[in-house]
Symmetry: C2
Subunit: 371 residues, 2 copies
Amino acid sequence: MSHHHPENDPKYIGLNVNAGIEKPDAVNAESVKRFLKRGRRQILSPDEYFNGIISGNISILSQAVTLIESNKPEHQKVAQEIIIKCLPRAGKSIRLGITGVPGAGKSTFIESLGKLITGSGGKLAVLAIDPSSERSKGSILGDKTRMEELSSDPNAYIRPSPSAGSLGGVARKTREIIVLCEAAGFGTIFIETVGVGQSETVVHSMVDFFLLLQIAGAGDELQGIKRGIMEMADTIVINKADGDNYEKAQLAAAQFRSALHLFPPTGSGWSPPVMTCSALENTGVQQIWNTVNEYVTLTKENNFFQSRRNDQAKYWMYETINETLRNNFYHNHQVRGRLPHYEKLVLTNGMSSFIAAHELLESYFKSVGNE
Amino acid sequence: MSHHHPENDPKYIGLNVNAGIEKPDAVNAESVKRFLKRGRRQILSPDEYFNGIISGNISILSQAVTLIESNKPEHQKVAQEIIIKCLPRAGKSIRLGITGVPGAGKSTFIESLGKLITGSGGKLAVLAIDPSSERSKGSILGDKTRMEELSSDPNAYIRPSPSAGSLGGVARKTREIIVLCEAAGFGTIFIETVGVGQSETVVHSMVDFFLLLQIAGAGDELQGIKRGIMEMADTIVINKADGDNYEKAQLAAAQFRSALHLFPPTGSGWSPPVMTCSALENTGVQQIWNTVNEYVTLTKENNFFQSRRNDQAKYWMYETINETLRNNFYHNHQVRGRLPHYEKLVLTNGMSSFIAAHELLESYFKSVGNE
């Protein structure tokens, strides 16, 4: 392993950037592959990464994140060592999940709220979980280029979604990236996601506060939002409350308020408020940040904050176990060969779901025992 | 195996009852145990059960259900053979899930709607999934005694929740009981549950239509209802719309209507209506039954009905597999010994959730391979 500092090495320039400014093409799995193909295999020692991270070196943080995102065993090994070193320094940030349909103005909102945080001296990391990465290997925060001011803000670190692997894998990597960002001194972490599919549930399971961004519309503003998300929100924000849209936004807020009223109380003792803002005109954004801080104060006092984090840590341990058990089963050669046949039997009432399951399990455990 | 008809055998009297009238103490796991302890081990052949069931013999149906509920391997073996025989004759009923907080008047509602069905010549089976069975081995439909008329109705078969085992196990058994009831010619099947915990999700996963029963209250009528249930409902019914409560019920219905309006559309092309009724006075109940039938007509036309059933059959196959994989893991000797240690490490930031999971998985697969 090389012990020189990579940010001084021209070989790393394609992979890393300074002060949190990253080019979209430099940060996804493709870049890892390119990095490897070009023979840029020099990796620092875990201690060097750790020291770089805790001293706030964004370039080294970025490289460590790239190792987390890589699926190469040798990268994973170093990544896990870095994470173990960082863990005792992690956990001190406020983790804020932000979800909303495309068109709700997430990028502008993140830029507006983000600049408010960095403007008062806070350090902000913006991560993302992209449900489309599962299918298309594409990347959101394609609209990252719209966060122009935040992108060039030395107190902000913007990182798109890890693009490789299952949603579970992406979630795990994002959780690990949070650890590194916290060790690097980022006091606020945004995790952005589009409110479709399962990704918002995943984000909800790793944040302290879950913010649902909405806009007023013709009654069908929720078309793209999955059922159940509204009930996970710690606050609903109606964005674009400006100009001709101001009154409509207030009306939408009132509607959401009366809907939330029908929901059962949350476990936190917190009643999710419905707020309006204009991220474009920077109105209402300070109030939203105050609300987040009120929530943190309340839930730290009543211990819900820590208990939610504990539940999440346990959840992710169990979820990793369960996902691995499932993967081992469904990727098993015996199972893969038989599954279509059994599924067909079940669908044609030729066999009960239960018997089909047990015959498949039997062949699986036989083959695992014989390995 | 005995080949005489057990309903004529005095040895069976403690276990079975005629015409669907069952004593609460005769139908749970305790009765199975007693049945076994008293040496009443005579079981019919699968063919005899099958023939009895399809000829509509309620007594034989009840015994077969008791075999499904039993965890004895020899009972399970016969039960599975009966189910396989019944499967080709299953699937022709309308499966209706009914959930609501205690106090919403579920029993009265089931009695009122049920009598409407049997009154027009339909055969109705009322099953239940009881979340408390997991913890206390108690049984709901304790208020079954309140369904006085339905209990003595020869066209109705009322069976409390299987009380043994995990929620997953109870769910599986209930699905199997549905198969038997359908083979016995029951054209409508109610599955009742209290809207707390996970049981309503389980019920939702095995019915064609999911009905949420509510009452008007002081704004906190949803206190007992888990977040997310409202979005699963195919209709919301405000019960007890009678006397002084009539206006309040209409107001509550209007509130629910405007809340549902904010939800995204369902996959079925169906807009869940909010209705009011008085089960006590039998008003509005016919309209609810009409609504169920409209739903069935719509979703059979647009194929959502069959596609929901197919999804459910697959879901239960995969759920059985996943639950078994999890059980094998968490009951593994190696895992049980180490789990508390790893959980503690994860909670104190001594280890990442991911590493803890993988170390536990490693010791599990080692021990499975060595078995």
